[in-house]
Amino acid sequence: MTFCQIVLRSLQQHRFSSILAIVSMALGVALLVAVYSLKEQTQKTFTQIGLGVDAIVGPKGSPLQIVLNAIYHLEDMPGKIKWTYFKELEKDPLVVEAIPFCVGHSYRGFRVNAIDRRFLTEFEYLPGKRFSFSEPEGGKGRPFNANDEAVAGWVVAKTLALKVGDQFNPVCGVLEGDPVHEKDALGIVGILAPTGTSHDRAIYIPLEAFYTLAGHPPETLAMAEREEYREISGAYLKIKRIRGGALHPGIQGLKFAINQSDRDQLVIPHEVLPRLFDIIGWVDRVLLAIAGFLTVLSALFLFFALTSALRERRRDLALLRSLGASRKTVMGLMLAEAFLISFLGGLLGLLLGHGLIGFGAHLIKAETGVAFSAAYLSRADWFVLPGVLLLGLLAGLVPGIQAYRLGILKNLSPIS
């Protein structure tokens, strides 16, 4: 029999405690892998989407609130900015593209944003990626061309079962109970192919439609007719880039200049988002601590399982010694068992962790529109297996030393 066969046989002999040790280790590892992966993918996804918009010009208020509202369709916009100011800013040599938008409407829980048509046709939500209406990609229809037309994001269309040709009446506001624009029925003319971003979670209507909705007061209607009265919630800006793809350093000067005003501010998502992760970071830390604790606990369980197995196997090990196995060999058997249990636990945990993400990805996508991949390899995937193996070896060290010290005679038949 080979060394490995003896190890496998021993594990089989104590299959119940071995399986328990493997499962408990797998659970700890799975949680660790899942939390790490979700954390990294969330940061990556948010940062990527934020990078799609180099900067947002918006009203004074919390920069984080502006980013959350403009890009992630959460929260409210703290105010409005003047259209004339926007037009002036648009001419700045640093501004490559400017997409104005108005927020404040919703439909059955999803935001209805009025936005410049170029958003649907020219805007790159990720480097090199534009919105698509192509059917093979999951889209349908076309961009809006008239004020009574709308385009639905993929998640909205799927969740609300909206089809091209359907009509809806937007709600004036984003809260439950806000008034419905009863006289303003808008027709869906297009459904965006899924982007895996928060853009999938909104309905888009023409910017001009915002001012001409019948339910709005006359002042708003006047904004449609006279540019000097017109206001917008903000605008997405694409900023000139320097070699290497980095934002032009002049953006800081532009930001400083804009932020001098009483009404407006320039927000760079790339700078603001880390603050969001600082705020929600404690959740990750708590989950990681729980996962780490579970893993260490499973190593402790492994230690007790091996110690108890050693107690039962003293005679077996003494017999092996009497057959010529050295002290190092019997110690090696205990360490190899610990190693194998940890390896199987770690491997199962990795698979389980990725399975959890795969399973959760559907729910998260349905809820947030953000796509997570089960195949994503986070930092945890690289360190968790060696870490668990090390833990396992540590757990096996004491039983291993006990096995090393085991006396043959004490554990064999009585001396006559």
Binding site: Q5, R9, S10, D316, S322, L323, G324, S416
Partner: protein
């Protein structure tokens, strides 16, 4: 060629508070192919003697040469190797690893020997002890007699030069006792293996042409007995 050569062998064990000389054998020699029974009362050090011959216990003084290897001063790891290569050992009880099948128990006897483990050889040995129909059985599924026969097969698995049997029939009924003894002697004869068997049962000792009273060998026990008087 002598398989066992002993000159002034002493073995001292540490017991709480004192050092106890358990073996003191001035001279003993066993020739290759001999079948010897050692007998004597319990506590006379017979098992300890076998352990010393097997290299399980290191000797304290003197010369102990087994299978051409001097065991005095030999490092433990080398004694382990020596045991794996040259010694077969049968215990009275608790012989088999319960989690391993019959064939695996025999294969274990070859595992630590420098010779390559051979499934065919293990099967042949089990055939020799009449257990070729129980290869995949586990010890708990066998009778005591059958278990001891597996132990015989395992003890011979590494093709030892010396087979040490410590009360091999102590737990067996008369029928099985006779059968197992016959088997051990026959197989040792076939394999050219020297046998040293320890027993305190007269009917077992009577079967051997060479039966040595251990008390005549071990002077340590005589001293102890005199001290106790």
């Amino acid at each position: 060629m002598p398989i066992i050569e002993i000159e002034s062998l002493e073995l001292v064990l540490e017991s709480p508070g004192e050092f106890l000389k358990v073996l003191d054998i001035p001279h003993w020699c066993v020739e290759e192919g001999d079948q010897i029974a050692l007998f004597g009362p319990s506590g006379s050090g017979k098992s300890t003697f076998l352990h010393a011959l097997a290299g399980i216990l290191p000797i304290s003084k003197g010369k102990l040469c087994v299978c051409g290897h001097s065991l005095e001063g030999m490092a433990e790891v080398n004694r382990d190797l020596f045991r794996a290569e040259y010694i077969g050992y049968i215990f009275q009880n608790f012989n088999l690893l319960q989690g391993f099948s019959v064939i695996e128990n025999v294969l274990l006897g070859m595992t630590f020997s420098p010779r390559k483990a051979s499934l065919k050889e293990a099967e042949f040995l089990l055939h020799e002890v009449g257990l070729s129909h129980r290869l995949r059985y586990y010890p708990s599924q066998l009778s005591f007699g059958e278990q001891q026969r597996v132990a015989v097969a395992r003890a011979l698995a590494n093709q030892p030069l010396l087979l040490l049997a410590d009360e091999p029939t102590g737990s067996l009924d008369p029928v099985n006792k006779k059968e197992v003894l016959r088997l051990i002697r026959e197989i040792c004869h076939t394999h050219g293996c020297t046998l040293v068997l320890v027993s305190h049962e007269q009917d077992v000792i009577d079967l051997f042409e060479k039966a040595v009273p251990f008390l005549t060998l071990n002077q340590a026990f005589q001293v102890q007995a005199e001290n106790q008087k």
